[in-house]
Symmetry: D3
Subunit: 298 residues, 6 copies
């Protein structure tokens, strides 16, 4: 092992130097303030605590006796506020820098964003209870609300989405995406924080579901694993990305979309009450009440 030790002392410093140059010069130069950004893990810890506020005892790290619930919520919310404010400050400063905005103090905006976010939590919880109610009515294998909260992955994914969407709507960069990606990693369900989703939304199984940034989804919609609500092409005819345009479909109330179907395009509307069978590939609007099936020959 003599050679290895020698290499560690004499040659490895060169490798370190190259990595360091790459980080300090190449990457850093392009992006400005990379090192000052929030640490992903810390944002994820805040997310986990938020889920524990919404469903205490299930998502949290401890069982909460009913008598302690007031204390618990207040304690945990305080703790969330302290850390989330720090991360909000950090990304809002980054945003000012990245978008070449006029220099301004982001502290005030971070505080207002936090207040609005926390005040929305009861409403977000209300929507989630409707989501769970849809699941209970829509899955023959569902046993009880408790079982759904504790073992259905869409609860994690949709709860995280509703939290992230609130921040997205307040024009907070990066943090909503870290949050939604966390749920994606845990559940295989990838919902962009920009999607607008009404209450009563249920995703069964969920792996492979993708819901794009400019999607809208009505009340009491059910979708299954592998469903993509995507863009026809992310590029316009000149090959440039279609940033900022409506690129993803609208799903109206009471629609059901079965497994592995794909619905594409910003002008595509799936009308109220329509049922889309499994493995369909749809790029045009579907009238309300329609039933669409693929040929079942395999």
């Amino acid at each position: 092992m003599t050679d290895l030790n020698e290499w560690l002392n004499t040659s490895m410093p060169n490798t370190v130097k190259k990595l360091e140059d790459s980080i300090a010069t190449k990457y850093h130069a392009e992006t400005g303030d990379y090192f000052g950004l929030s640490c992903c893990n810390e944002v994820i810890e805040v997310l986990d605590d938020l889920l524990a506020v919404i469903f205490p005892g299930c998502f949290g790290r401890e069982k909460i006796p009913p008598a302690e619930i007031t204390f618990y919520l207040h304690d945990l919310l305080r703790h969330i506020c302290r850390r989330l404010l720090k991360h909000l400050n950090s990304v809002l400063e980054y945003q000012n820098h990245h978008e070449n905005r006029e220099p301004q103090d982001s502290t005030e905006r971070a505080g207002q964003t936090l207040i609005h976010f926390i005040e929305s939590l009861p409403e977000i919880r209300g929507m989630l209870l409707e989501d769970i109610q849809t699941a209970l009515g829509g899955d023959p294998a569902a046993y009880s609300i408790d079982e759904i909260v504790m073992s259905y992955p869409f609860v994690d994914a949709v709860a995280t989405h509703r939290l992230a969407h609130n921040l997205y709507s307040q024009n907070v960069p990066i943090i909503p995406r870290i949050m939604s990606e966390r749920a994606h990693s845990r559940t295989g369900i990838d919902i962009h924080p920009g999607a607008r989703i009404q209450p009563g939304f249920f995703i069964d199984h969920g792996t492979g579901v993708v819901i794009g940034e400019t999607c809208t989804i009505g009340r009491n919609v059910k979708i299954y694993q592998g469903v993509t609500l995507g863009a026809r092409s992310p590029f316009d005819t000149s090959g440039a990305p279609r940033t900022g345009q409506k690129r993803h479909p609208d799903i109206e109330d009471d629609v059901i979309i079965y497994a592995n179907s794909t619905i594409l395009g910003g002008k595509t509307v799936i009308g109220k009450g329509a049922i889309i069978g499994g493995n369909c590939f749809i790029t045009e609007s579907i009238p309300p009440g329609s039933i669409v099936r693929r040929d079942e020959t395999g």
Copy 2:
């Protein structure tokens, strides 16, 4: 930050109050005993220890010297028994409450369930060795049994399923679903604990696989990523969920189902030795020995 501090002290308590009311009144009232239920994380820790009993050194947190294996197994099983019994008691009490059963002491039933479960572990391990053997024979990229145990996600998913299915068969609620959802989160493979699966079962890659509650799968079956063994529709013609019915297909011995194919329906049987090509969509039975391919024009 004065305003924020003021808000924290004067307005946030209202938000806490609303959340508390939502938890205490709305949710709790509907479901009875939510706070008394087992904590998900603790069930998952028991599952992880069970996997470590079955493949010590690989799934566990430590390498086990051969000379210590007896001690290790006994020690870990004791520890599993203590915690699993507590969780069994908790969910069986919940079941009595939720199903309005006549009050009875669930302690006796929890004990018998635990005994039967632990005594099944050697048999479960035997089935898993057959599963792994199928993988070794069926994947050209497989190097050795060790590699399979340590790096193939289906080992986690199928081992967890065989454990969860034992509890499901003993009519234990919720715990089996928490277990199978854990494997789903880690592997993208979603097997309902109700599915009955013979030994020699291999899933390659696995992301997006869904296997429904009333599926049966014969010996030496191989399936690939994205395969759904699902229900035609979870609702009967009146729109009510088809709870308790046979809703998912039967897969006989020696069948191969390639990637992203979908097989639906409780009367659909894939006959012994049939091969289903990739991306097929099947809602009718397939005779034994058949080969089914989709049109390959894209």
Copy 3:
């Protein structure tokens, strides 16, 4: 609980004995050196530290002040070297045993493998910067390089692949597969360490992507969720696995493959600049510059 306690003391030892026999005799006998192998968790810790070397502050556990970056990299690389060398020794010894190679000291080879691996890190980082640049240009929803590093799952998957592929190319068994499976679990993207992938590679969303062992992928290729680059059949006409053959397709420069498309076969070539629409199923070569779409009737 008397019966349960009695069972624990009198009958459970039999169950332990059966498990122990199964581990010691059946499994162990077939595979030789199982217990001596590296622990999966420890390999995964090394992987996480490697990702933290490449994107410090994002994948790591702590924010790194710019002034400490040199120290941090050197410190962490030292720590990686110490542990990775141990695991390399372990799997190379296993390889000698498993392949019935002539006994030889694997220490020298482990050292050389480690040196080559560490010296490749700056080059691997360079390729990842090109991958990220492709993402920035190709996703209308992308905000900045920082956002991509912190919230796009393909960064984890492709970075892990480039690390694992280096070890695979040096004929290291098992460790590369544990690494790629870790990324698969976190992202739903399953890239075999054997695949050869040029820089500028972007996977959007990613869940369900499978890229086979003998794939080659050119520069600036973009693929979407659910894309399979697979084998036509893993078995030859005699039913034996086609180990060691070219089984997976070649994707040339500048190709785009949209969501849920499947491309199979070792002789299948997707020509330079071709665009494959969503949900296509392709088993023949596609000429350069072609556009392939599936029928859009659903």
Copy 4:
């Protein structure tokens, strides 16, 4: 190891049974509610957080940027309140039971105790600043207030005492003693929570210092390692413990007591400004302004 395994399965259960009987019958019977009592470790965690409130950044687990101090204090105090209230409830119920008090709800008393305790924290902090000032003026080796807070054991011991004494004064059982014993373990300084100590108190080195329950100590007193302020005999002439009596000395303002001296008795008063040399043994009052020395022949 056959014999050992056999013993574990056949004989060890008897040992467990004996331990269990001992715990359930003998000990438990005498003491009532042992298992329901607060866990020591949890009380100690609360203590550590209280010290972090008083000297943030030094005793706590993290450095606190000045801009976050308000948030930090509020967050941590909330967290302390939640847990301390639980422990107060537990020991006050124990007290009702142990003292055969009439049954009453201890919740109200726990809440009032908590409020009074928290409201005293600023005053306690003020006294500690005076203690530190005395140290700075009295130890030639002291460098700065910061150094004293971070490295003088008496800060831990006296801060803990002032917290524990507040609870003792509110007639809270057990918790104050767990707290003071924690400081004793860390510093070797054993101050009974009953002792009444004015501000400006400094203990140098401290190991072996014992200060009894009914001691009073005036302002600006300095003592050194090994000093005992104890009782002449804990028993009266009939051999019964002198519970509830004044058993320990009074130390007036500005006294200095050098190392390893012993002062005993409830009627012993060390007068204002007296200096007691090292290794003295005193059981009678000493007039103000006196200097007492032992013979220095060894």
Copy 5:
């Protein structure tokens, strides 16, 4: 910082080399098997678990509901056995090597030692209950047995001693000393594992107490802080250590020794019921029933 980095890469390896040589050559050569010995931290974890077996809920990491106590004890004892056996094997092999004993398998002896140790636990617990009873009767400040278990340092020290003494009596090297040193560090009470101490033993405050290897202590003895029961001189007239001789005093039943007194010599006997006042220095035997006081002039 250029110079520092250069030094790290070029000169620090020399320092490492020197340390390595020192460890490998100098120290190692003298002592044989240093690296193979048990890790101190692991022995201390076993000790902590043993204390939790004896006083569950107090010394352990969790509160134990009465209904789970049987399970808890059995589970924890199993876990203790597994780890303690490993450490026993390790130190017994070391002993064979260090004492140049004839080579023999230490496994059998380790197993028998373990069995005897575990079977003694109920008896040890019984003695500790007597110790606590003495404290309750002897300290006017004591409130209840529960308070004593949870906050009197002598409980930790004497419980650890009784455990360590069992192993010492079975001629186990090193482990008993690691255990007693752990208690010494936490309590300031230093009892050599060789001391033979009858039940009903109480140490108040305790800091600075030293009890030597060949001490014997009768029933219902009480001692206070700073008491030394030591050797007159550890060297014989030739200057060699008096290894293996009786070097420390005998304390008969019902003796009380007040704070900071010193009693030296292997032939010194403190007779039944004697009372030794504070700060005495005794090197001759004291008749039963005597009262010894130092001059109280200071």
Copy 6:
């Protein structure tokens, strides 16, 4: 609990405000840079790692196989350097501020201090081996060098002192005191980092030992528990602390000082080979070769 909740929301903020004012105004104003100082816990972690470098496998968290010792030392030293440099920078900046030195960059000095410190480690280890050798020769109860390293508290105390003294000698503030206080807390042995101690130093038992800042101790000195090597009075005749003066005794080679003896004064010299019996109180020099005993009447 209504009142408590109301108090938490309305009155507790006032308490927080008072604490905040106390921290920000009163304390902070006097001391300047308190919040920017090193965190105690982090310094202690560095100390623990240094002890693990000196006695790997004993003080560290893991057993080190001999083959990995080079790697281990290098890895750990790198990690120590990174963190210690940061703390050195922090306290040197503090020193500039506190001593009103002319502003200067402390980086250079921190780097040089670190280099000198690390290069001294082999020499420090050499001195510790001599210390241990003295213990082995001087304690009849000592079994082997291994036992001494693993269970004698003076090893921790003296090793920590030799490390802290190196930094003290380089005029580093605060960090040496945090280190020595850590050893004090664990062992009851309080050695000021300023004391100059030759090799071959042994402290038996150790609780209560105090060694002052300006002490010097020769080769092969042995002392016992409770020995104070202190100052006559820390104040001069005007009452001001005698900062910077020689205040503590000199102990020449081969001296033995038995338990609980006190030696005071900066001009007091205990001559070569002298023996000081237990419980002596000495304020004058003792000639070489003398034996001093206290009257043994108690």
